[in-house]
Symmetry: C2
Subunit: 224 residues, 2 copies
Amino acid sequence: MASAVNPVIDRATVERIVRQVALEYLGRDSKGKSPELVVQASSRHMHVCREDMDVLFGPGSELTFDRPLFQEGNFAAKESVTIVGPRNRLISNLRILGPMRKQSQVELAFTDAIMLGFADIPVRLSGDIAGTPGAIIIGPKGVVELKEGLIRAAIHVHMNPAEAEYFSVKKGDVMKLRVGGPSGVTFNNVHVRIDPTSRLNVHMDTDEANACGLHLSKDVELFK
Amino acid sequence: MASAVNPVIDRATVERIVRQVALEYLGRDSKGKSPELVVQASSRHMHVCREDMDVLFGPGSELTFDRPLFQEGNFAAKESVTIVGPRNRLISNLRILGPMRKQSQVELAFTDAIMLGFADIPVRLSGDIAGTPGAIIIGPKGVVELKEGLIRAAIHVHMNPAEAEYFSVKKGDVMKLRVGGPSGVTFNNVHVRIDPTSRLNVHMDTDEANACGLHLSKDVELFK
């Protein structure tokens, strides 16, 4: 390697060569063998707990299946709510995703949070809502004042243990996702979530999808 | 180098080592010597030509200075317009940036374009508007139907020739911008624009700024 490095070669070339060599040393090929990668944008949405469901949609009410999501068992419900932020700004038609969870949680893009009047919402993994801001949620049958639960979901990848093995990653690791195209972007902190029922799938929010022009590019690459 | 690469070292480590070595070979240091880098988010805005100014704000009207922008001579004007997209959706208070230009042009984030009802707007450098979509623009004194001029501005960096020399780049090159923090992102296609009057300054749009949480991070690095 060292003999190939001289002041005439630019840094990008050096890095490309090294990447190839490293991949050979690591016994991997960047093409052909990867599990199929599905990258999706998640629009703002809410997860609801049993207690809040009772208030928002009536005692004992259940979520109504609208369409399946890519991860087994998850679905978009027909139900939606209105969220009211500071300074009484609101977003209506905030969709609920099922199934119900132990804690209610609202996932917003920064754009949504700014629109609602929040100066800041924290970037968190789903479920990690301690100390996050709350909001007023209005359903057809009642109103809930969430004490906490507003987050920007950190970009993350779902995978099963075999896929984790393939990528040599474990729970809690971060990976990188490169999206090509005219607005090419590499996301440097893609959190790894591993579950036996998962299908390989990156979830980003609408800000991230719009930043990289995800709708314009099929050229995506997940790596450590 | 090659002796340092073995199957136990992960790819990120290999890349980090190589980056250090490459920087030494290239005679650069990633800390301490770089020109100061200002990274800014540009909200949606319009540039207006003389003819459209006459229609929108009255014959012979001039833009009123509101506040200076970072690039010498550029300013946010007090004037704003309303843009009407397909399906009669609109965005009001679209700010005009001065000075006037030869061609009118509207720069939107993808989020804005989607809100207006555009399925797609092209990613272009400022000024390169041939074949782009148009829209109806409403000012206090009249209405202009732009035949073209709606773009998503490609992320770009302004610099002067000395800074271009420092980075070893020329007009038309693309560089990378890494933004750290919890939503860390590397923008892989940052277009280089060189002008003697320019100050080193990356312009991204609000989608890109919200994706990387630009307001949360002072850790930015521009490189080839």
